[in-house]
């Protein structure tokens, strides 16, 4: 067999081209000749001052890939603003948010809601269970889910990457199906309108700072009639004597750094003068929740406040920050199977004044314990009927 030399011939062409590229860029080095000549009094001129190109060669700028939408970059402003988004997590939980929104908290939902929160019939329970099984298990959408990590029990173990229903989709499917079930049980619910995936922005002055809430809601259920005031004006006056929690040495804006690139436009999800907010559904779609129940509950209050306030700024009449007619808004905050419900009455937009807003809430309720396939059979364990009955109570308010 003839022995041939190893040539690595595949590199020859590119080597040749690379040499041309490198050596083609001539750098003019200073030989020192110009300095010597000048010293001897000989005039030395830069060649470009004498020589000029034979003709004009304009270079045409061609946009090869036109931008679909111009990217709006917000300019940096002088006054910094604390922007509270969905990703904000209040370090001190509900107490911190009370200070931000100037609210007082009552443990327990209002009487008007609890008296309408009747027990479920067996038929209703069956339908809710069917809705849960479909949304969380039997939906055939398969999308790559986020990685599962159990750092405490199985550190370093790499779990099989799952394909299944993403958290956002589970929440949406379940909420819509539950809303359909609730509509059947409450007469006049067809008058209410539903808007999906809204953004609500509102700016406020708090002490000497500028704050802005920028929140996404999964659904805003609006009704042609506003929700009735829960506390009349005298009771609202009596709230002024209540004390606010003290979180010294932390400031109410802890965990929310003030930024310079913000936009001062207000917007409320449903910009119609004829529709008033009834219930706001917020879905917490981060699969790994960075905060505990206390933080979760605090966020519910903040969402309620932001939507009520944005709506009030657009529609309601305001004097010195106080509302002539308080705005009532219900909120349902969901994460996987946890439901946190609350009712919020906005009395004032003056966040440092005496007049206070009020928030009724109760600890979160799990809708079910376990929902999975066991030996190819769909199984739902630990179903809690209280959640649906509370939703009925909220939905029945008009």
């Amino acid at each position: 067999m003839r022995v041939t030399e190893l040539r690595f011939a595949q590199n020859i062409g590119s080597h040749f081209k690379a040499l041309w590229l490198i050596q083609g860029k001539k750098r003019v080095s200073d030989t020192g000749a110009a300095a010597i000549l000048r010293a001897k009094g000989v005039p030395v001129v830069h060649p470009q001052e004498v020589l000029s190109p034979a003709y004009d060669r304009p270079f045409e700028k061609v946009d090869l890939l036109p931008r679909l939408e111009p990217v709006k970059e917000l300019e940096e402003k002088q006054t910094l603003c604390h922007v509270f988004t969905n990703k904000f997590s209040p370090v001190m939980g509900v107490s911190q948010v009370q200070l931000i929104t100037n609210s007082v908290v009552r443990s327990g939902l209002p009487e008007t809601v609890l008296e309408r929160a009747v027990e479920n019939t067996a038929e209703e329970d069956e339908k809710v269970k069917e809705a849960i099984l479909h949304a969380y298990l039997l939906d055939s959408k398969q999308i790559k889910l986020t990685r599962v990590l159990d750092v405490i029990n199985r550190p370093g173990w790499i779990y099989k990457r799952e394909y299944g229903i993403p958290v956002a989709r589970r929440h949406k499917t379940l909420t819509y199906q539950l809303l359909l079930l609730l509509d059947h049980l409450v007469p006049g619910a067809a008058e209410r309108q539903l808007v999906e995936d809204t953004i609500t922005t509102a700016n406020f002055n708090h002490s000497d700072r500028l704050i802005q809430t920028k929140h996404r809601a999964a659904f805003i259920l609006s009704s042609p009639n506003p929700l009735p005031q829960l506390l009349d004006n005298e009771e609202v006056k009596s709230l002024e004597e209540e004390t606010m929690p003290d979180i010294y040495p932390l400031s109410p804006f802890i965990n929310c750094r003030a930024i310079g690139n913000y936009s001062l436009e207000d917007s409320y999800g449903v910009g119609s003068g004829h529709l008033h907010p009834h219930t706001i559904f917020i879905h917490h779609n981060q699969s790994r929740m960075p905060h505990s129940e206390e933080h979760f509950n605090g966020m519910t209050l903040l969402y309620a406040f932001s939507h009520a306030a944005a709506y009030a700024k657009q529609i309601a009449k305001i004097e010195n920050g106080n509302l002539e007619k308080p705005v009532v808004v219900q909120v349902v905050h969901m994460h996987k199977q946890h439901f946190h419900m609350g009712v919020f009455q906005l009395n004032t937009l003056n966040l440092t004044g005496l007049s206070k807003n009020i928030f009724w809430t109760q600890p979160w309720e799990p809708l079910f314990g376990k929902c999975c396939f066991q030996a190819a059979k769909p199984v739902l364990e630990g179903y809690n009927p209280k959640v649906f009955s509370l939703l009925k109570g909220l939905h029945a308010q008009c």
Binding site: L138, D139, S140, Y176, D183, Y268
Partner: protein, 548 residues
């Protein structure tokens, strides 16, 4: 007849001409009379290659038909191909300019212009009455969605925002419709709504011409020389993307009987070209058939599907306004066929198991303002081999004219559109006796008699297959340099033959690798139930898992 008994010396037998039948050994029961009056000849079997191949195919189809659960049937369809089928993808929102005739051929659909009036005659009066009750509310809904400034999050560039605004409108519209028809019918109250369900269906399409490569292969291989120009089957994967799907317990009644001339001898265009000629792309994918939910849901039949029409804008920009109908027909045919076939598969029928009763799908496609309604009747789902052209049945699509619900800014709704929509909601399903003749009494894997462990493994295997996750090791491919230097002009004859396209003792064609051809999965000692059972059993469609 000389009877020779095999005696002591076996060597003797070699030299004795055993022309006649030997006596049976004593311990077997002897038939009283081996002769019958009428000769019972065994069937004369056609031993040609064509016939042998057809018998193999039919045996596989029968095997699938006999399997007792939906999941087993779906798995058996996938068993022949480890790396998935190279199937033509027919996506409802990707219309091709000249592909309409092919789509009709591929789904064996006859298109009728206009909805079937007699089908809705029983619900028409009620629908008209309910329309007057709901007109105001629909006006409020339209005003909110199309006139009021809604602050919604950005959905990205392109037509996504139009799609989302249509979806928002449809969500509100369904709520309205559901509460309106509540007083009249029970089935909508009990219905379940899917938001953007995933609907895919797999079928085998016959009567297609062989491509150049296959013809060359056949011509160069002696036994298949005569089959050179035989028509072939290609696998098809249909994808439907509705915004909303309404599911109920009972399936819709048939529009026309399955024996009606419209369902047996209506015109369906013929096709003599490869699907790629029309622009349809082929990709490797397992045979995926899903209908928005996994088997186990109680509400298995669909009442109505609602689609959005933003993809038509792009098509029309490229090909002109006069081609709107092409895009519309493409969407309705593929969408409806995929949905109907997926439902059929979940009822025990499928690409190789023929229907025993027709399946009906109702759809509407809209952008809020412009509406098109359609009704689809699936009479046949087996389109393989010569059934693509010689099928006793054909499917029917009734597609209505475009109707406008409201004019821009002008008050006043077109009540006809609402009446048509409400009629679709009011149409009640019927219970059929023997709805699943090809499924066992337990229908789904959940109630299969096999052990729990096997059921769980089988279901997760099937879900993994349908998820579209890539394999660790992709299907082996012949690189270009190998094609040049090993296949076309073999300049490397001295190299050891190790690749799959080279002839050697353990050559395996990756395209022929079956789903159950894998190394057995090892069970670590700590996890074994029996010390001696080292490996997990292998995938088997009949017994779920089996030790070979």
């Amino acid at each position: 007849m000389i009877k020779i008994r095999p005696v002591a010396a076996p060597s003797l037998l070699r030299f004795i001409k055993l022309e006649q039948v030997c006596t049976r050994p004593c311990h077997h029961a002897v038939a009283p009379n081996e002769y019958t009056d009428v000769p019972k000849y065994p069937p004369i079997v056609d031993m040609s290659r064509r016939a042998k191949k057809k018998r193999l195919k039919t045996a596989w189809h029968d095997k699938i038909t006999k399997l007792p659960t939906v999941e087993q049937k779906l798995m058996e369809l996938n068993l022949p191909k480890y790396y998935g089928y190279w199937s033509g993808h027919l996506i409802d929102v990707c219309p091709k300019l000249l592909g309409l005739n092919f789509i009709q051929y591929a789904t064996r659909t006859h298109v009728v212009n206009g909805l079937p009036e007699e089908y809705y005659s029983d619900v028409k009066n009620e629908a008209e009455r309910l329309t007057t009750a709901v007109t105001d509310k629909v006006e409020h809904l339209i005003h909110l969605n199309y006139n009021c400034p809604l602050s919604r999050r950005s959905f990205g560039p392109g037509r996504a925002s139009e799609r989302h605004s249509t979806q928002n409108f449809l969500l509100g519209l369904h709520r309205l419709m559901a509460s309106t028809v509540d007083s009249t019918v029970q089935h909508i109250k009990e219905s379940v709504v899917d938001m953007q369900p995933r609907v895919e269906a797999f079928w085998i399409l016959g009567g297609l011409p062989p491509d150049e490569m296959l013809r060359k292969t056949r011509k160069n291989y002696e036994p298949s020389k005569e089959l050179e120009n035989d028509l072939i089957d290609r696998t098809m994967q249909g994808v439907s993307t509705p915004r909303l799907g309404v599911r109920v317990t009972d399936g819709l009644p048939e529009v026309v009987s399955r024996d009606d001339p419209l369902a047996t001898s209506a015109f369906v265009p013929d096709n003599k070209l490869d699907p790629r000629a029309f622009g349809f792309r082929f990709q490797h994918k397992p045979a995926t058939t899903v209908t928005g939910f996994w088997p186990g849901e109680k509400k298995e039949h669909s009442q109505l599907w609602l689609h959005s029409r933003e993809f038509i804008t792009k098509f029309v920009e490229e090909y002109g306004e006069h081609n709107t109908d092409v895009a519309l027909h493409h969407m309705m045919i593929i969408s409806s066929f995929t949905q109907a076939l997926a439902h059929a598969a979940y009822l025990g029928f499928g690409p190789v198991t023929e229907l025993t009763y027709p399946l009906v799908q109702q759809s509407a496609i809209t952008d809020g303002q412009r509406w098109n309604f359609s009704v689809y009747q699936l009479n046949t789902c087996t389109l393989h081999s010569d059934l693509a052209t010689n099928n006793p049945h054909n499917n029917i699509l009734w597609l209505g004219e475009e109707q406008v619900l409201f004019e821009n800014g002008v008050k006043g709704l077109n009540a006809e559109v609402l009446t048509a929509l409400i009629s679709m909601y009011l149409k009640k399903g019927i219970e059929r006796d023997n709805p699943t003749p090809h499924l066992g009494s337990y229908k789904h894997l959940a109630d299969h008699p096999a052990s729990e462990e096997y059921r769980e493994m089988f279901q997760s295997h099937l879900h993994d297959l349908f998820s579209g996750r890539g394999r660790h090791f992709m299907k082996p491919e012949m690189y270009l340099w190998e094609k040049i230097y090993k296949k076309d002009f073999n300049t490397r004859f001295f190299e050891a033959r190790r690749r799959f396209f080279e002839n050697h003792y353990k050559q395996k064609d990756p395209g022929q690798r079956r789903l159950d051809e894998y190394s057995p999965i090892y069970i670590p000692k700590a996890k074994r139930k029996d010390r001696r059972v080292k490996y997990k059993p292998m995938l088997d469609s009949e017994e779920l898992y089996k030790y070979h």
